[in-house]
């Protein structure tokens, strides 16, 4: 009886509230500071020291940006292309699509085919355009040559 009375006295609302508030604050600070992804802070400091388009290279990767620049030179605005060899939800795929607008990504019979897999050297009905091939290749439809 006296034990439960002691617990009851100790567990008053002020203490419960203080405990909840303290736990909340500790967890908040822990998850705020903890790196969510490996190298998050390193990337962040690189971003701080980069300017303009360099920032995109830090986030998207130098290879992807270089390859997208090449594709932009090759694919005129309004033409269509298909990105091959990447899953529908692959982040490189959506980033390429974003970078390459106003050229338009589509599926199927497109003016160009893009692959970020350097191993793909041939696409039926298309001719490969010259690129160093480090990130990928770009192909143009034969009847457009």
């Amino acid at each position: 009886m006296s034990g439960s009375y002691t617990v009851h006295r100790w567990l008053n609302k002020e203490r419960v509230l203080t405990a909840i508030f303290s736990l909340w604050t500790i967890l908040w600070l822990f998850f705020l500071i903890r790196e969510d992804k490996d190298g998050q802070y390193k990337t962040y400091f690189k971003l701080l020291t980069s300017r303009g388009e360099e920032k995109k290279q830090v986030i998207y990767g130098r290879d992807l940006i270089g390859f997208s620049e090449f594709c932009k030179d090759m694919i005129p605005a309004g033409q269509t292309y298909e990105i091959m060899g990447l899953g529908d939800y692959d982040v490189d795929k959506v980033r390429l699509r974003y970078l390459l607008w106003p050229a338009r990504a589509e599926d199927g019979d497109t003016d160009f085919k893009i692959t970020v897999d350097p191993g793909i050297k041939d696409v039926e009905g298309y001719v490969r355009l010259v690129h160093d091939g480090s990130k990928g290749n770009i192909f143009i439809k034969k009847d457009r040559l």
């Binding site: 609302k13 002020e14 509230l17 909840i20 508030f21 736990l23 909340w24 604050t25 967890l27 908040w28 998850f31 705020l32 962040y44 971003l47 701080l48 980069s50 920032k55 995109k56 986030i59 998207y60 298909e82 939800y89 982040v91 959506v94 980033r95 699509r97 974003y98 607008w101 106003p102 338009r104 990504a105 589509e106 599926d107």
Partner: protein
Amino acid sequence: MTGAFAALMALEATGLVFFLVFMKKTAYECTMAELLSVSFFAGLGIVVYTLFIFDLLNIRFAVTNYLFFSAACLVAGIFIIFTLPGRIILAPPRAGSLFPLSLAEKICLSGIAIQFLWILFMVLPSPVSSHDAVANYALKSKIFYFTGLIPENFFNMPEASVAHPDYPLMLPLAMTWIYGFTGFDDVVVNIVMPVIYAAFIVLFYSLSRRQFGRTFSAICAFMLATVPQFADYAMIIHADIILAVFITAAFIYMTLYMKSLDKNYLVLSSVFFGFSLWAKNEAIVFTAAFVILLAFFLCRCAGRPPDKARSMLTVLMVLFIIAAPWFCVKLLSGPANSDIRLSEINFAGIAENIRDIPVLLDLFQQEVFGPKKWNIFWILFFGSVIWKRKKLFRGEILYMTLFMMISSACYFSAYILMTGYDLYFFANTTISRFMLHFCGAAMFLAAYLVHDDISRVLERCGGKNKGM
């Protein structure tokens, strides 16, 4: 950065003029904090609405047109404000002066400031990068900015060209507005998210103050501001946090109306619900729940039937005026939803999804008990609901509870009716975002349930918790 600041100021000024006209016309009283934050979100909604109308009228998305529009609003607004009788009343904060702050208030204020600065510093040097931001919102705004309009076949573009063309356009159009002032700069445009976050915390605090004491409101605002998931979504270009903001504000105004029967709250609630329909498709669920509950409330409350009918009609009119352009275009152009295709719903698919309910529940409990995304937010919420279960169906809390129950039941049904993917994939990629839509309203409901008990404790500790 100056361009982005100008864009946001133009947006704020546009909203401010509309809100001041409303205040003068209706004698609505509010604090400076509520005035500025509501004006920001009103401005956001009005600007998005206007850009959409620009497109329908074939007026290009160009900064000269934006400035002309803002200037016209300012001139017309100021003229109306000066010609209308009465005066604009800025109510003082509830418990007198803002200072001195209690220890709890100092901690909360510092916490919110640290969290906001953290978000700002993480956002400022980064280009748009997250998956959905690039696939959806940023790509759409890039398309709109460079095309100068919404392209003719935009709503029927395949998913391979642009993700989810059927999604409402609040965020892409807001970004297009900013690009008008800055030129195409997908680093600076990110600033819109921390500003939305900050305006929302101010709004949440000022609306909480209509109901609760100062220290208790500060604690609620601090907890909401530091929910990791909430802060994380303020760092990336996503519409989920915008939906959460509009739903939370609408929900609180709805509660205030049901408590006080002040029609101004009802109008504000419908305006926020109306604009939420421009943020995400899920807003339909919340808005429908609001209309149903309002009808239920009006049937039960005392008053003359013509007055009740007028209240209902006002709400429906506001919702119709705000949402009509978007839904007309959507219905006429018929973009397909990639997650739920009505023609593909069949018994076998539903049965398969029902079999996977344990997977859904497992993901849900991971969200509730995992502190990484939610701290102990949902544990506290469900704890408050269990602790104060007897209050859940009393007075205006009944409608708050039903609102949460109806909307979460609709979300659950959407998972069961989903046709696009398998349930695990869909739930795993969406559940934390969907819970974000509820978190502001859940915070307010939990606060409403426990504030009597907590306020007493805070008073003993020396906090300021007197009502208005």
